[in-house]
C-alpha cells in the first residue's frame, strides 16, 4: 500500500502540509498510541538537534486523534514544529505482518511526498519508546550524513533468535555490512534512501512483492549509501507464540529470501564484511535469562527428522540430511548443531526458495523443526554463558556464514551441479 490507497481527503491534508524536514512513523502493533504524547516525544527529540526541524508524525493510531491533522499538536518552540497525521484504518485482509509492511509503505510515501530530509520509523512497543530513541535514529541522518540508522538493542541471550540465527548473519555475509538488526524494526532513513526505496518499489511493483523492511540494508548497500547503528536500549516484545513459529518463519523469511533473489547480482560481487559505525553506549545485558526447557524443541526436531525427510530431500543435499539424522539420535546434553551445518542449511533453503522446488510456503514452514533444533543447540551450549560469551558465539556463527558463502555462490550459479 502506498499513497494511492490513502483516501482523497487525507491525501489532500498531507499535500496541504507543504513540506517537512522529518517524518516520524509510529507503528505500534496494537494501535494504542497517544497522539499528544507522541508529538511531545518527537518535539523533545528534535529540540536536541542543532538546527530547526519541521516534523510530521505519522501514526497508525487510527482511533487516536484524527482531528488535529495539519495543526501543531504539541510544543510551542519558535524554531521546531510538529504536525500530526493519523493513518487510515488498516485493511482487514492480510496478516498482521502484511498490514505492518503496508504501514511502512505509507510512512515512506508520506516522507517522499513531503520531500523529507529524514524519516524515522518506530515499530517497537510505545512503553519502551523515549525521546532518546527518536533522537538516536534521526540525529546521525540529519547531522552526520548517514543514510540508514539501524537499531542496536540490549538483549538477553534467548531474545531475537531468528534475527541472531539467520537475519543478521545472512545479511552480513551477503551485503558485507555487520548490522545487528537488519530488519529493525526501528529505523532512521535519509531522504536519499527514501527516494531510492520509493523508486525501487515503483520498479518492482510489477514483479516482486514490496517488503521495505526486508530490503532496507540491500537497498542501502546497492545504492552505495552509508549505514550506521544506534544503541536504543531494551526492547520489550510480546511473549513468543510457540504454536505459530512456522507462520513467523514464513512471514519473515519469505520477504528476506525474495530480497536475496532480487539482489543476486549485487551480493555475488561482495566479499567479506566490515563493521558499521555505532553511536550510543549500549547498557549491558543481564546475565539472567537462561534455563530454557529444550525438550519440546528437541522433540519437534526429532519428529521433523523422522517425517519430513521427503520434503527436506527436495532442498537439502544427502550429506546434510545424514548429518541431521545423526544429530537427532544424540542425547540432549550432546546435542550441538555446528555453525557450518546451520549456515549450509539456511543457504540451501534460500536456493530452494529461489528454484521453487516446492511451494514456498511449504518450504519455509518445513524449516521450523530445524530452526527449533538450532535454538535447542544454542540454548544447551550457552546455558551458563554470560553476555560476552554470547557475543563471541554469535560472532563465530556470522563468520561461518561468511565462510560458507562460496557454497551459496556455487549453488546459486550452478544449481543443477549440486542438486540433491
Amino acid at each position: 500500500m502506498a499513497l494511492d490507497t490513502v483516501p482523497q481527503p487525507e491525501l489532500g491534508q498531507i499535500e496541504g502540509m507543504g513540506g517537512a524536514d522529518l517524518v516520524v512513523g509510529l507503528l505500534d502493533a496494537e494501535h494504542k498510541g497517544d497522539a499528544g504524547a507522541a508529538c511531545g516525544m518527537v518535539h523533545e527529540a528534535i529540540g536536541r538537534l542543532s538546527t530547526a526541524v519541521r516534523a510530521v508524525v505519522v501514526s497508525n493510531n487510527s482511533t487516536g486523534n484524527p482531528a488535529p491533522t495539519g495543526q501543531p499538536a504539541a510544543g510551542d518552540s519558535q524554531s521546531s514544529s510538529v504536525l500530526y497525521y493519523s493513518l487510515p484504518e488498516p485493511k482487514a485482509a492480510g496478516t498482521p505482518f502484511e498490514r505492518l509492511m503496508d504501514a511502512y509503505q505509507v510512512v515512506f510515501a508520506v516522507g517522499g511526498r513531503l520531500g523529507a530530509r529524514a524519516c524515522c520509523v518506530i515499530r517497537s512497543e510505545p512503553r519502551t519508546l523515549t525521546p532518546q530513541w527518536i533522537w538516536r535514529l534521526v540525529q546521525p541522518v540529519l547531522e552526520m550524513g548517514f543514510d540508514l540508522v539501524a537499531p542496536r538493542y540490549t538483549r538477553l541471550k534467548m531474545e531475537g533468535l531468528l534475527n541472531r540465527s539467520i537475519l543478521s548473519p545472512l545479511s552480513r555475509a551477503l551485503y558485507g555490512e555487520r548490522v545487528q538488526n537488519p530488519m529493525g524494526p526501528d529505523f532512521g532513513l535519509s531522504g536519499k534512501l527514501l527516494d531510492r526505496i520509493l523508486g525501487e518499489n515503483a520498479l518492482k511493483r510489477q514483479g516482486f512483492p514490496i517488503h521495505p523492511v526486508a530490503s532496507m540494508v540491500s537497498t542501502t548497500v546497492g545504492g552505495g549509501l552509508q549505514i550506521c547503528e544506534s544503541s536504543l536500549g531494551t526492547r520489550v516484545q510480546p511473549p513468543t507464540n510457540w504454536a505459530d513459529v512456522s507462520s513467523l518463519l514464513a512471514q519473515v523469511l519469505g520477504p528476506v529470501f525474495l530480497d536475496v533473489e532480487s539482489n543476486a547480482p549485487s551480493w555475488q560481487r561482495i566479499r567479506g564484511s566490515r563493521p558499521v559505525p555505532g553511536f550510543g553506549a549500549l547498557e549491558p545485558a543481564s546475565a539472567e535469562g537462561g534455563g530454557v526447557d529444550v525438550s519440546r524443541m528437541l522433540e519437534s526436531f526429532q519428529l521433523g527428522t523422522q517425517t519430513l525427510q521427503d520434503v527436506w530431500g527436495l532442498v537439502l543435499p544427502p550429506g546434510t540430511i545424514i548429518e541431521l539424522r545423526k544429530l537427532s539420535r544424540l542425547p540432549a546434553e550432546q546435542f550441538r548443531m555446528t555453525d557450518d551445518l546451520w549456515a549450509s542449511i539456511v543457504y540451501d533453503f534460500v536456493l530452494g526458495h529461489r528454484l521453487r522446488t516446492i511451494s514456498r510456503d511449504h518450504l519455509l514452514r518445513s524449516m521450523t523443526p530445524i530452526y527449533l533444533g538450532w535454538i535447542a543447540s544454542y540454548a544447551i551450549e550457552l546455558e551458563t554463558a554470560g553476555p560476552q560469551d554470547v557475543e563471541i558465539r554469535l560472532e563465530q556463527l556470522s563468520a561461518a556464514y561468511e565462510d560458507r558463502k562460496p557454497y551459496l555462490l556455487s549453488r546459486w550459479r550452478w544449481p543443477d551441479r549440486f542438486n540433491p
Binding site: M158, D293, L303, T368
Partner: protein, 234 residues
Amino acid sequence: MWEQIGQALNQSMVRVLSQLASLLPGILALILALLVSAVVAGVLAAVLRRSLMSVEFDRRLPRWGFPTLAEWSPSKSPTLLVTRAIALIIMLIGFLVGVSAFDVALTSQLVMRLFEYLPNVLAAVVVLVAGTIIARFLARSVLIGAVNMNLQYAPLLSAGVKWLVMVLAVAMALEHLAIGGGIIRMAFAILFGGIVLALALAVGLGSKELVSRSLEREASRTAAQGSREPVSHL
C-alpha cells in the same frame, strides 16, 4: 450342368473380386493413413523428446508429484514413456481414420463411438492428474502443519488426506469413463462414508480420552513454554 456350375463359379469369383476391388481404395487409404500417422508420430515424438529433455523432464517429474512414474517407464525414463504414448495415440488415430475410409457402416459406427469416447478419456486423465497433484499438495500441507504442531501421528494424518483425495479422484475419473456406473458411486459412498464414520468413532468414542489428554498436554505445554521462557525471535 457343368456349364451352369462354371457360370456360377465365374459369377461368384467376379462378385468376390469386385468386392475385393471395391475394398482396395479403403485398404490403400488405411495404409496411407498409417504411413502418414507414423511419420507425424515420429516427428512429433522426436520434437517432444527433445523439448522434454531440454527442460529435464525426467529429473523434474518426481518434484512435481509423480515420483513413481519413472519406475513404470521404459528404461526408467518418463520422457520415453510420454513420447511413446503420444506416438501410439497418433498411430491409433491414424488407424481409426484409415478404418473409417472403408465406408462400412459397422466400422464407421465403431470409429464414431471411439471418437465420441475420447473426450471422456481425456477428462478422466485430467481429473486423475489434477487429483494426484492436489492430493500431494494437501498431504504435504497436513504433514508439515502436523509436524510443526508436534503431533506424533503426522504421517498417518498426511497419508489419510492423500488417499481420501486420491479415492475421490479415481471415483470421478471412473465416472467420466462411464465404467462401473452405479456400483462405483455406491462403493465410493460406502468407502468414503465408512472412513469418515470410522474416524468420527475413533475420535469421538475410542480415542476420546487419548485425544483429549494429548490435546490438553500440548496446550498446557505450549502455554507454559510461552509464559515461562524469555525467548523471542525478532
